[in-house]
Symmetry: C2
Subunit: 412 residues, 2 copies
């Protein structure tokens, strides 16, 4: 295949950004079908495509009709979290390869269905977790692969991103997060931090997640934010009376078959700066994104004790390790690629999908990854409802995790 003809489903913020910022910049990608349940969004992007490529793709509000267009090589799904699996399953059953944007699941049955439909159809499926291609994440993973951290025993990460304006004004801006924050309390968006950790820990490939425990704080951030908004803006009644179910901080602990623990933090409704807090801990060293620090046994002084921040002279040294360990794709990134979104991660994720389609290779982030990562939302919700009771993670590989071989996203 010289070019890939894509159907694009879902044109909210993410669909629009990736389509304009990433897909339309790829010469070997054509967009041949666009769809959103809000027709104006689909029309808007169709116009953009026409301006850039000279041809207006057909516009749909029904994804099934959007997938009837002749010559579609693959579909990319940018819709609300609730519909990812339904659309992915429908496309796989039609033999249309799927690239799915990220999110969490609602029902364990959906995770199982994703896997079983893939196993029945063998239609290619990739979970487009851009943070698996993050610069920091890949630097730390490369160092871990070279043994610099010794045996890995613990990883941590966060989705720490102040989304209050997006969520609180969610009805006005037609965002699915509003209804989710109103009705549910869980780790609703685990994969930005879990994805790269799961790859590093070889989840579903020699290791697996065995249990999920979540505890949520109270929900106060959105309430206080809306009270503050009222001082300067006209706030609609429904928003003033909204009682959000989603706790401000959700802490989740995963235990793995290899004995490793993973802690995840969902942190989206309190004021803060953006962070993913990617952390890797081993018996010989550590990587800590929050402070941009590498600490290696025998290289860095054994003890920084007293007072607490006597290690300030040490931290913020991780960049020094890029010369020796940063993967090639990040060393060679062009300004054009970097401008595609999220500092280049979007380019790498979507490029990997397109390349795997063209070369008919296995997808670097597959249906087993998608099912087990998205299942964390389901189990987190159950755990919180049961006061923090640990929940068992199903084995979506049916035992094959014991023999499946490592596949890093940097492998071609």
């Amino acid at each position: 295949m010289k070019t890939i003809n894509l159907a694009v489903i879902g044109l909210g913020n993410r669909g629009r950004d990736v389509t304009k910022g990433t897909l339309l910049k790829m010469d070997d990608v054509n967009i041949v079908s666009v769809c959103d349940s809000y027709e104006d969004r689909a029309q808007e992007i169709a116009k953009e495509i026409a301006e850039k490529r000279g041809e207006t793709p057909p516009v749909f509000t029904d994804y099934k009709k959007a997938l009837e267009v002749k010559g579609i090589d693959a579909v990319v799904i940018f819709t609300s979290w609730e519909s990812h699996t339904e659309i992915a399953v429908y496309a796989m059953q039609k033999g249309i390869p799927v690239g799915s944007e990220v999110g969490g699941e609602y029902a364990m049955d959906n995770c199982r269905r994703l896997v079983s439909v893939y196993e029945q159809t063998k239609t290619p499926y990739m979970f487009l977790e851009n943070c698996c291609y993050g610069k920091d994440e890949l630097l730390a993973t490369a160092m871990a692969r070279r043994g610099l951290f010794g045996q890995i025993v613990h990883c941590a990460g966060a989705y720490a991103h102040d989304l209050r304006s997006e969520v609180a004004w969610g009805i006005e801006n037609r965002h699915y997060r509003y209804r989710n924050y109103l009705h549910r309390c869980c780790e609703n968006y685990p994969t930005h931090e879990l994805g790269p950790i799961a790859k590093l820990l070889d989840i579903n490939r020699g290791n697996r997640i065995v249990s999920v425990t979540s505890v949520a704080s109270k929900a106060a951030g959105l309430h206080d934010y809306i009270q503050e908004q009222k001082k300067s803006k006209t706030v609609p009644d429904y928003m003033q009376n909204a009682e959000f179910a989603q706790g401000d901080i959700v802490t989740t602990i995963l235990k793995c078959a290899g004995g490793e623990t993973i802690t995840l933090k969902l942190d989206t409704t309190l004021p803060r700066f953006y962070s993913r807090d990617f952390t890797v801990r081993g018996t010989k060293g550590m990587y800590e994104q929050a402070t941009n620090t590498v600490f290696l046994e025998g290289v860095h002084p054994e003890k920084y004790f007293d007072p607490v921040r006597s290690y300030q002279e040490l931290i913020n040294n991780a960049t020094e390790y890029e010369k020796d360990y940063l993967p090639e794709l990040w060393k060679k990134i062009t300004p054009e690629e970097m401008s595609t979104g999220h500092g280049g991660m979007d380019y790498f994720a979507y490029r990997a999908f397109i390349e795997a389609l063209k070369t008919k290779s296995d997808m670097p982030i597959d249906v087993y990854d998608a099912a087990s990562w998205m299942a964390v939302s389901v189990l987190s919700e159950q755990s919180i409802l049961q006061g923090g009771m640990p929940q068992a993670m199903p084995d979506f590989t049916s035992g094959n995790w014991q023999t499946r071989k490592r596949k890093d996203v940097t492998e071609l």
Copy 2:
């Protein structure tokens, strides 16, 4: 009382350091009785005391005999974790006021006994948690009290301190940590981070901890450390074959009656720099010790998004807030006080104990604090044994937490 006559029980590292570094520097403190089950340790400190003060205190190996000395005004307990409660209870029953060093408990009965003996005898008891007097912790607490962070919804902390040499060589250096790391797996030392958080969240004074959930990683750090030691040292057989039960990273989540969550991390057997990661999150702002950062709504830019570390220009600004918010005791600290240990925290904690004894005031960290903080170890051990099952925290105040008034350690 013009001077306080102290009995000192337990003269390992901590007892020796505080006695020499802090207590012997206080003119209004006499040490009139010293005791350690290893006589050489007690003799050594008796000699030091004689050199400094001209009088040699009597030396004991039995704490009960050490408490028979005439004229004792109070006892300070620096012994192994296992014996803190036994000695404290014995002293309270004899009417001797107690200052107890920190640790975790083993049995809920001991926590209850501490409270009930105090309630029966009303003998003063203080839990000498020096980190409640930490500079960073008190700066953040003062800012929280002034409302700068809005409603507090989440706090976090860690005891992140590489103790591998102390633990692994524990038989050689007669350290109680060795046996604890060999036999138990739990949040064995929760109070350095939990203490200041509990004070900030008014635990037992308007709020209380309701549940404890813990998950532990595998234990690999000490094993790999000992293998490394073998390359350059003669390592005794028992150590080479030691199988430690204590997981390297123990993550604990506490839920409070007010809806707040607290996460604790015990992190003592992997290479790293020292940190307590004290973190306060509210609806208007945050404090983060790891990056030395204050982030306030309306003061700091709303979003730092892309790439991840675009907030580097912001972090490390917390010191700017000391001028306006650092409590007086830290503003006025003398070089002499600062040199007493742990950058001055030891001085403040022991000074508070001595002052409360002299003025017959309520202790700033009391028996209810001690019981509920040390109970975290007990519940953590149970939770881990049950695969992360949440455990209910007893209400040691018998309902009085609802009406007990706030008492900050900075109140005189």
